[in-house]
């Protein structure tokens, strides 16, 4: 095939400003500004662009649009490598590097093409069958043979390779709202946008191409396009080019991907590479056009074969005459205009017309043009030349009473096919709108939902430009009160199409492709049918027809037609596979947008964050929160740091950031009743100025959360929750108040972020506190007894303080208004220097609570009852509370249920880890009788300790020898099961 630029009036001779250069496999070439990559390659007579997916067959440019299955290339290099780019739709930018794919050592001489001759091994279901062994002896059955072949298959199959380097660019998310979104800017789309804008609506029109115009661009006369474009701008319609509507979702939400042209990105680091635009429109108009089909014949994938309309695009849009010796094979009227234009541009043109008759108007148009017309003829096979891989001759057939008959050979170096048109109904299919087979026009059509999503133009199966434009105008003749009814006039050709999906002669052998992108052949479809895959959805998955990036743009209808033929039924009975978003492939980077790395999720910082970091804290993620984990002194490790922190706290005083605890303010006349229903224990009797530890259950009777709740005033409580459950408790309380108990007059507000929480624990905690508060008398043992709550002033800032303890020491929790938290913490820490003191983190906090047998989310994991954690006495018998009924279910009150216990190693120098199981000695196999939930080294006891659950708890396990087993780490230890209250069980230290 030899293409050349034509220099006519529409395409003036190359002037230097229009000249751009690019590199094809590192060699420099020239092209014109505005060219697509495919146009640039064709203009330089680069006809073999890539190698196919499975068989490594040479492939060239097959189209000028998104359906491209042959010219897939890699562009850019290094971290900016983009594989599998459709050369037909990507703008050729000055200096662009383009590479061929799936070929070694070169695209002309590809080693992998040997696979073409081993084709029978790669037929449909190859991978599935591989697992079942190779007949006749089922040699290598199972995974071994797969593992042997895998590395070869992985190397050979596939397309381009993406870069392994981190993506240096960033991507943006955008939200757009509009009255009317028009998708596609061809004749119908432009008209729809103009008509919509004239009604005063806010209109957005998107176009996947890099310029607007659609099929206008493929025509010689561009006057109409220019006029429409002017009108569009005058009406203030927003136009987005480079933008693909890749998916239609519920509520007319449309996913758009905008590729930012690299031309305008001299400053690569400052502009996003792509924008993921979520568009919410009241109405969506699909003016997505139609894609010209080919049909199946032998070697229909040879370079030099393309659709008729693409030759027109290359001629009129890019000024490239694709070849001087062209054969067109068609079954419909649409090819004739192109044939005449190609002829006028200087090519020799022969038309093989499948139909035995064409209309008079068409006949008149081509008479005298010198076009050679053969009626009732078609192509059965294409053959390559002797010294190249592109088409050089075809075997033609003619129609007889008994079907097709071989009729000789014809030489040509370009074959153009038009086997009909498929409206682009993908987006309608995404929403499962009705799709019908239009017998007369041999295509699937959809009308959207005719409420908010409409199809116009050739997307609705209308073939003539004038009628397409009318269909767009018609849409806006209806006001909101009239129901829109599409005028069901599809088609528009002089003589109807003669449906054609395959020409097959028994005497001519070879591969005929249905889906060239996935290398699916006609025999794959027949094989699938033969093997029982008779549903079209199964056939699709078994053969990979129309899957992945292709989404059925090329071969879907041929595949369905062949299936219908094999099943001996009609195409409408076979039906169409449902298309899935994305319509064309989109990059993962665009979907992620800026939500990556540190922006992947929110970070919550406590008001003491800066203070902690200033004091050498190592932080840890706790949900979304960043919490101090430990405060190493010099090069201290985690282990030595937490042991030191817990030791100093128990000995003197430690300070800890507990701001991440959930804090909920509860107010209103019915507050006491509300709190009383939430918690298992009674809050009726809680006096003002006191706090109480409470447990709340879920409806199903399992433990939900725990925490202390402070009665600040008669109708005012401050509830604290665990860090983990802060938001789910809030949500639950709101649900109860709004959905179930709307008669209770209670208001709740989350105040977690409003207060910085700081625990001061240890025998010296009161002494330290008295140096901080404005009036030390207020915190004396009498004035602030155990579980006492009050407001105190620190440097005149009003804070809430409670004498409660998670560590088991004399301890206080102070809630400081967030704005003052940092400076008051600095005050506390500076006064603490007068004592043996430390800041302690989450690890030391955990150590001390394990020593005391206090539970956290490690124990309250949603599967434990209040009895299981040893707090059954906190379930009141005298009142009703959430979960109170279902907690008494038989299986939940069984005495053999696993219960909370403490665990000591028999040999005190041994350590072990969370996740270990507990078994009876001698019975290490089988179901364990318990497990370990929290482990720490206990500075107070001088050895490793743990909390865990064991069947029946302490009572039932008495006298049994228990082994802790951690198979994964090969740890097996004899352990003692003890009370979970491992340190200071009497709680004497609480009172200081």
């Amino acid at each position: 095939m030899k293409s050349e630029r034509i220099n006519n009036v529409l395409h003036p001779p190359e002037i230097t400003e229009d000249l751009i250069h690019f590199y094809w496999n590192r060699k420099k070439y020239f092209a014109r500004k505005g060219d697509s990559i495919a146009a640039g390659l064709l203009a330089n007579n680069l006809n073999i662009i890539g190698r196919s997916f499975k068989y490594h067959r040479p492939r060239g440019v097959m189209s000028a649009g998104v359906e491209e299955a042959g010219a897939l290339v890699t562009i850019g290099f290094g971290a900016r490598t983009e594989p599998n780019i459709r050369a037909s739709t990507t703008e050729l930018i000055d200096g662009l590097h383009i590479y061929s794919q799936n070929a070694w050592p070169s695209v002309k001489h590809d080693f992998g093409s040997i696979l073409n001759f081993l084709g029978r091994f790669f037929a449909a279901g190859f991978y599935y069958k591989m697992f079942m062994g190779v007949p006749p002896f089922e040699w290598g059955r199972g995974t071994r043979i797969w593992m042997f072949f895998e590395r070869f298959i992985r190397k050979a199959a596939g397309l381009g390779k993406s870069s392994r380097l981190p993506d240096p660019d960033y991507y943006e998310h955008l939200h757009t709202h509009t009255d009317i979104l028009v998708i596609g800017s061809g004749p119908s789309g432009l008209q729809a946008a103009i008509s919509a804008a004239k009604t005063g609506k806010d209109v957005l029109i998107v176009e996947q191409d890099y310029i607007i115009g659609g099929s206008f661009l493929n025509q010689q006369d561009k006057k109409e396009l220019e006029e429409q474009e002017k009108l569009l701008k005058k009406l203030g319609v927003t136009i987005l080019t480079h933008t693909t509507a890749f998916g239609l979702y519920d509520n007319t939400t449309v996913g758009l991907i905008e590729i930012i042209p690299s031309e305008g990105r001299k400053d690569l680091d400052k502009k996003p590479r792509q924008r993921f635009n979520i568009c919410r429109a009241n109405n969506v108009i699909l003016a997505t056009g139609a894609i010209e089909r080919v049909y199946a014949f032998i070697n229909n994938d040879l370079p030099g074969i393309m659709s008729v309309n693409s030759a027109r695009a290359y001629l009129n849009r890019y000024g490239i005459l694709i070849s001087k010796n062209i054969v067109i094979c068609t079954n419909n009227d649409s090819a004739y205009e192109t044939a005449i234009e190609l002829k006028n541009a200087g090519a020799k043109v022969t038309i093989l017309e499948i139909r035995e008759q064409i209309g008079d108007i068409l006949l008149r148009q081509i008479s005298g043009t010198g076009i050679n017309l053969l009626l009732g003829s078609g192509v059965a096979k294409a053959e390559k030349g002797f010294n190249n891989s592109t088409i050089s001759r075809i075997k033609i057939v003619e129609m007889t009473d008994k079907g097709w008959r071989y009729a000789g050979t014809l030489f040509c170096d370009c074959l153009l096919i038009s086997a009909g048109w498929s409206p682009v109904i993908h987006l309608a299919s995404h929403q499962n709108f009705p799709i019908n087979w239009n017998e007369e026009n041999a295509c699937f059509t959809s009308f959207g939902d005719a409420k908010s999503v409409f199809l116009v133009g050739s997307a609705a199966g209308i073939w003539q430009q004038k009628q397409c434009i009318n269909s767009a105008k018609e849409l806006f003749k209806y006001n909101s009160k009239q129901k829109y009814k599409p005028s069901l006039i599809t088609g528009g050709w002089e003589k109807p199409i003669a449906p054609l999906y395959e020409i097959r002669l028994a005497s001519i052998k070879g591969k005929a492709f249905v889906d060239p992108q996935n290398d699916v052949t006609t025999s794959d479809i027949r094989l699938a049918h033969q093997e029982g895959f008779i549903s079209v959805e199964h056939m699709k998955r078994y053969t990979t027809l129309g899957m992945a990036t292709d989404q059925g743009k090329m071969g879907n209808i041929i595949g369905i037609a062949l299936m219908a033929d094999a099943l001996n039924c009609s195409i409408s009975q076979v039906g169409v596979t449902r298309f899935r978003p994305p319509y064309t492939s989109i990059s993962l980077g665009a979907l992620a947008g800026r939500n990556r790395q540190s922006h992947f999720k929110l970070i919550r910082r406590t008001p003491f964050n800066k203070f902690s970091l200033n004091n050498n804290a190592v932080m840890i993620n706790s949900g979304l929160w960043q919490r101090p984990w430990y405060y190493p002194v010099q090069s201290e490790t985690l282990d030595s740091a937490y042991i030191r922190e817990a030791t100093i706290t128990r000995k003197s005083v430690g300070i800890c950031d507990i701001s991440s605890l959930g804090k909920i303010m509860i107010q209103g006349p019915d507050t006491t009743e509300f709190v009383n229903r939430i918690y298992t224990n009674s809050f009726n009797s809680l006096p003002v100025g006191k706090a109480r530890y409470g447990i709340m259950l879920r409806d199903d009777g399992f433990v939900f959360d725990d925490g202390t709740t402070w009665r600040l005033a008669n109708h005012c409580y401050l509830m604290t929750t665990t860090t983990n459950n802060a938001s789910s408790v809030m949500t639950k309380l709101e649900e109860l108040l709004q959905v179930r108990w709307s008669n209770l007059n209670v208001q709740i507000t989350s105040v977690t972020d409003q207060w910085g929480g700081c625990a001061i624990a240890g025998p010296n905690s009161r002494n330290l506190l008295s140096k901080i508060v404005d009036n030390p008398v207020e915190i004396s043992n009498e004035s602030l007894p155990f579980m006492g709550v009050k407001q105190i002033s620190i440097q005149t800032v009003i804070c809430n303080i409670a004498r409660i303890s998670f560590s088991g020491e004399l301890a206080y929790e102070i809630y400081i208004p967030s704005d003052y938290a940092h400076s008051i913490m600095e005050l506390i820490w500076s006064r603490a220097q007068e004592f043996d003191s430390c800041l302690y983190g989450l690890e030391a906090l955990g150590t001390m609570r394990i020593e005391k047998g206090h539970v956290t989310s490690a124990e309250i994991d949603g599967r434990v009852t209040i009895e299981d954690i040893g707090l059954g006495r906190m379930a009141s018998m005298n009142k009703d509370f959430v979960g109170g009924v279902l907690k008494n279910r038989k299986a939940l009150t069984h005495s053999h249920r696993p219960q909370l216990v403490g665990i000591f190693p028999k040999h005190k120098n041994k350590s072990f880890k969370v996740g270990a199981l507990l078994n009876e000695a001698g019975r290490l196999n089988g179901h364990p009788i318990g497990w370990v939930t929290s482990v720490t080294f206990s500075p107070a006891l001088g050895h490793w300790i743990a909390l865990g659950f064991i069947e029946g708890g302490l009572n039932l396990i008495k006298g049994k020898n228990i082994v802790l087993s951690d198979e994964l780490r090969s740890t097996f230890l004899d352990v003692d099961i003890v009370s979970p209250h491992m340190f200071d069980p009497e709680g004497s230290r609480l009172y200081g």
Binding site: N251, D699, D700, E734, E735, Q738
Partner: protein, 94 residues
């Protein structure tokens, strides 16, 4: 993506809301028998078509809502505040 018209905040994206559950459950009194609690907590219809469900406008006004939605087409027919008095108030102010 669904869009839910919150009576307070207007039409908002589904991502602002969290799904609650079956909106037609009448929860028994806290002291009701085990069977009625069992049914309320564990028994659910798997409706093909219109169902009433609860949603919370968690990233908005935090109202709990009763949403009537088609489980097949995702069409939303009505959105009301679950709190009866609030709903009455909203209707009165319309």
């Amino acid at each position: 993506m669904l869009q839910i018209k919150c009576p307070f905040c207007g039409k908002r994206d589904q991502t602002e809301f969290s799904y609650g559950g079956d909106g037609q459950i009448t929860y028994p009194a806290l002291n009701a028998d085990e069977d009625s609690w069992h049914d309320a907590v564990f028994l659910r219809q798997n409706i093909y078509g219109r169902q009433i469900e609860t949603w919370q406008h968690s990233h908005g006004c935090r109202s709990w809502l009763l949403v009537e939605r088609d489980t097949v087409t995702h069409e939303i027919f009505s959105v009301e505040l679950a709190h009866g008095d609030w709903q009455k108030q909203v209707e009165k102010n319309k």
